[in-house]
Symmetry: C2
Subunit: 230 residues, 2 copies
Amino acid sequence: MSPRPRKEQRHPDLQSAIKDAAWQQIGRYGASALSLRAIAREVNITAPSIYNYFPNRDALVTALIIDAYTSFGDSQLAARDSLPADQLAARLKAIGAAYRQWALAYPQRYQLIFGTPIPGYEAPFMEVLPYAARALSALVSVIDQLRLQGRLKAENYPSVQPGDEQQFEVWKSFAGDYDVFSLAVSLLVWSRVHGLVSLEISNNLPPFGIHGDALYLYELESITAQFIKE
Amino acid sequence: MSPRPRKEQRHPDLQSAIKDAAWQQIGRYGASALSLRAIAREVNITAPSIYNYFPNRDALVTALIIDAYTSFGDSQLAARDSLPADQLAARLKAIGAAYRQWALAYPQRYQLIFGTPIPGYEAPFMEVLPYAARALSALVSVIDQLRLQGRLKAENYPSVQPGDEQQFEVWKSFAGDYDVFSLAVSLLVWSRVHGLVSLEISNNLPPFGIHGDALYLYELESITAQFIKE
DNA sequence: ACAATAATCATACAGCGTTTGTTTTTGTTT
DNA sequence: AAACAAAAACAAACGCTGTATGATTATTGT
């Protein structure tokens, strides 16, 4: 029966305030501890009020994931553009380094994107696709440049089967007009950095005297040595 | 106030029955939907009764993880031993293939081990170590054999820093007496197959015409080409 | 035979996401 | 200016969760 608060004493942008509180909680207690009621307490509203800004918990999580992808994509694109466009190998390594740096700086965001920390949540593919595509486009653009210059070394790479062209068209409309083969190679490169980083983030890399820094650098060198000519 | 049931009408092995029901639930509704109360309903006991067999929910999850690691380790060791001991490259590929096959056959178990699907749960490292070490030992044993035969190609591999010898000793007591350098190389190999498989399992590999089978085979070939001489 | 132990249950608590119905402010239309 | 519709907040409740407590009873050991 409480009255609706005056406009002045309300939060100016509750939608953002809710997301901020969510990130704060995720950073403090982990993504799995995310709770609408706790967020509401933080923002000084009641839990059902959140439903005025997000239809349900999953929609809030999706919004968080999109924000995380945007932050991640910013980092990837900035790393690529921090080096001249003609130094493709250096750009590739910079993107790889930025990948791990961002993941170590925001491990909770990384797990929110690539792990499954929210019980029962499944990311809506088509909704997230634009932001995921943009984030991956930094890598794909470099690979595609290498391909155009004839410096991409992937002779026996598995052939791309036709069949999902229209989904790829959607992808291109967000990531840029790159060849599908470059995307295919990028997926493997991505899986390598993702493999190492995800193991490191989730503490599944036993610290038996091997440091993540050196191992990751070695893997980046392996990638460039395998996929770049000369 | 209900009496304790007669011995005959009780489940002969409630500890196993609870775990079986848990696996059944994980297989049906996913690991994140695991619920002590639902398990209790399945086994026809009350939820607090589970506490007679597991001190809390996390202990049950740990027991499930250990079972999953055992199943995974069985698969890895069987794959290795399915080929003669002198065909090391073939053994390596068989282990890699078994890795993905097991993951695709039991995606929920895979995510239970390597993901973080249970809210608030953190695996007790020292408790799980023996079973994780055994599972990884199949790969490490082959890598170490290659090293002993001088066929391991990893010249510029990052050096192993001393400092965690005692933890490594514990590891060896469960996995076998292999060189720490072989373990270090195995970690990178593992991260590669893990990267691809985890992306595939979590549906983060967009099906843009690239089939998991072919891509995975290509990656296995890349691994053998990079790390095995001649 | 009797005491101790172990296993089970009912009950309860606090927390969760979500639904429903109500109240009040806000913005628009007449 | 008055009337009205929409939006935004609230309280209360539902069914779910993991877990603690205390009572009760079947089994086991002496």
